[in-house]
């Protein structure tokens, strides 16, 4: 029983990281119906910025986190401006291929500068509390609380502010939103920046929780987060959170009770089964087909 609770806690930790990255995928998809395959690599950039700020410059945790988030957000917005904006009216596949290219570029650029995996020294003093036989480290608590805090913040932002309202309007109907006088390009840049910033925060947390980072780490984690977004129903913010926690739980539980090499197999098979049963994800809605 204690073992199960312990594993569920680990699941919550991994799930919150997945959920944070999945939010970036789902926001961009919601507003542009485009899969931003470079998002996993922005997460990787976040982890490397954490290394740069926290280990090389020796900054404490909070400035490191803020710096990584800001850096990833800025990079996200710049990528959108340079690579995706010229393709706004191109065939739908072109920006997706561009995103694959941008992702490869970020990976290999980082690899060219950092040929070896880096180790992130702990930035925070670690305490371990034992609650009813389950041990909780302060790092775990921080990761879970911080990501839930960020998610609540995002939810409030999207639902309560003018910018959030503009985002929802654009995802509803971009052409009409532009006619109503909304600065569409600015809002899209903001969406990319926010998504990338959340990805950067996830990168910092991942770097602290699993301290060895390398330039290709974004690929697998990025795909997993993408799957979370899809399982939850891509385009839906609550769906992305739900999917992230769900996938985290499945992975950790499979690794806990089966040989851990089965982890990917089980999680991807579950995805396939779910998609055959509910093709648009748990909270997703099918788009109406015009005839």
């Amino acid at each position: 029983m204690n073992y199960l609770l312990q594993q569920l806690l680990n699941a919550l930790q991994l799930g919150s990281i997945y959920a944070l990255i999945a939010l970036g995928y789902t926001m961009v998809y919601g507003i542009l119906t485009m899969i931003n395959f470079a998002h996993g690599d922005l997460f990787m950039i976040g982890a490397f910025l954490c290394f740069l700020a926290g280990v090389t410059l020796g900054l404490p945790f909070v400035p490191t986190l803020l710096l990584s988030m800001a850096g990833a957000a800025m990079l996200g917005a710049v990528i959108e401006r340079l690579a995706y904006k010229p393709l706004r009216n191109a065939p739908r596949v072109s920006p997706i291929i561009t995103a694959l290219g941008v992702g490869l570029f970020l990976e290999n650029f980082t690899l060219a500068l950092n040929p070896y995996p880096k180790h992130i020294a702990p930035l925070l003093p670690t305490h371990i509390w034992t609650v009813g036989g389950v041990s909780v480290s302060s790092l775990q608590a921080i990761i879970i609380v911080l990501s839930i805090f960020l998610m609540v913040l995002l939810d409030l932002y999207v639902n309560r502010t003018m910018t959030g309202m503009a985002m929802r309007a654009i995802s509803w109907d971009r052409a009409n939103a532009a006619l109503m006088g909304l600065p569409v390009d600015g809002i899209i840049s903001a969406t990319f920046a926010i998504g990338a910033g959340l990805g950067g925060a996830a990168g910092v947390m991942y770097g602290l929780a699993y301290p060895v980072i390398d330039p290709y780490m974004g690929i697998m984690v990025g795909w997993k987060a993408f799957i979370s977004a899809v399982v939850g129903g891509i385009g839906s913010i609550h769906g992305a959170m739900l999917g992230g926690f769900l996938l985290g739980a499945v992975e950790v539980l499979v690794a806990a009770y089966f040989p851990s090499t089965f982890r990917d197999f089980v999680s991807f098979s579950l995805l396939l089964v779910l998609l055959v049963g509910r093709p648009y994800g748990i909270l997703g809605k099918p788009r109406p087909q015009k005839v």
């Binding site: 998809y29 119906t33 899969i35 690579a83 010229p86 393709l87 191109a90 065939p91 739908r92 596949v93 072109s94 920006p95 997706i96 291929i97 561009t98 694959l100 290219g101 941008v102 992702g103 490869l104 570029f105 290999n108 650029f109 690899l111 060219a112 040929p115 690929i219 795909w223 993408f226 799957i227 899809v230 891509i234 090499t261 089965f262 990917d264 197999f265 991807f268 098979s269 995805l271 396939l272 998609l275 055959v276 093709p279 648009y280 087909q289 005839v291």
Partner: protein, 295 residues
């Protein structure tokens, strides 16, 4: 030699991605199935003296196995469309890699060693030409029209009486078959395979070739695969920076030519004569070629 294998891969993926307009990203999964199946056959089942003669059979069996798996992957694609198919194929690629890593009989994560080198230039040539020949004839056949109708508008195609399920199934099977063939040739060329070779990066490579050359164009696939392979070799002196340069070039290409070099066009000698006459007539009538929409 690699050019030939890459041409087969790109042309077969183009059938699904370019002509049918679905976004499949798991091509390396089919390739893995073909590579493993054919190398298992040549290592374990064939008598050693005869394996040279039975090699084409092994490659064909690899393709057939991959085609069977293609059938399985096509089924979920009936329910989902567009971006969701990308996810189905992606998950399929990961599952193939993960399954191969967990089967000890095929070496698990270590891979298969000691495959005989049997892929020769004539064999590559033979398979490349036959792949292009089959895909070209398929595209310009009645089934090929069905495939195009799915790209342009699936609902409308169905209303016109196209059996979209069967057409999708067929396109997937043909595409998977040639990916399996390419996998078999690949395994017998480099003599060593492991599951990590067929991960999502390999699929991305093929995607880049297809979109570099141009979607919906066999000539484009040949061109794309050749340019990509040759360029990677030429840029080898740059070492790691070539992998930085290549994606950058892809991004620039997408911005300035979103449909790739040959997008939706074809070499003159490639198109059957009456097709060419018809398209010329269409252009004269002022309606342009069928380059209107891209799903």
């Amino acid at each position: 030699m690699y050019v030939g294998i890459n041409v087969i891969l790109a042309a077969s993926l183009n059938l699904v991605n370019g002509y049918m307009g679905e976004f499949s990203v798991g091509h390396a999964g089919f390739m893995a199935a073909g590579a493993y199946l054919s190398s298992m056959l040549t290592i374990f089942s064939f008598p050693p003296g005869l394996s040279e003669w039975l090699f084409p059979l092994a490659v064909f069996a690899g393709g057939a196995g991959a085609a069977l798996i293609g059938l399985l992957v096509a089924v979920p694609s009936f329910r989902t469309r567009g971006d969701y198919l990308a996810i189905v194929t992606l998950a399929f690629n990961m599952i193939v890699k993960s399954v191969l890593e967990n089967i000890d009989a095929v070496g698990g994560p270590r891979g298969v060693l000691g495959i005989q080198r049997m892929t020769t230039l004539p064999w590559i040539f033979f398979w490349t030409v036959s792949a292009i020949w089959v895909i070209r004839n398929f595209v310009y056949s009645n089934h090929g029209r069905g495939v195009l109708s799915i790209r342009e508008d699936e609902t409308a195609g169905e209303l016109m009486g196209v059996d979209t399920r069967r057409v999708k199934l067929l396109a997937f099977v043909v595409s998977a078959f040639f990916a399996g063939v390419a996998g078999g040739l690949f395994a017998h060329l480099i003599q060593f395979i492991n599951p990590r070779m067929f991960d999502i990066l390999k699929s991305t490579d093929v995607l880049i070739m297809v979109y570099l050359g141009g979607i919906g164009s066999i000539a484009g696939s040949i061109l794309g695969a050749t340019i990509y392979t040759v360029l990677l070799e030429l840029l080898r002196p740059l070492e790691i920076w070539r992998m930085v340069l290549m994606p950058l070039m892809l991004v620039l290409l997408m911005i300035f030519r979103p449909r790739g070099i040959m997008g939706l066009r074809e070499f003159r000698w490639f198109v059957p004569a009456r097709e060419w006459a018809a398209s010329v007539a269409r252009i004269r009538a002022g309606r342009g070629a069928d380059a209107s929409t891209q799903g």
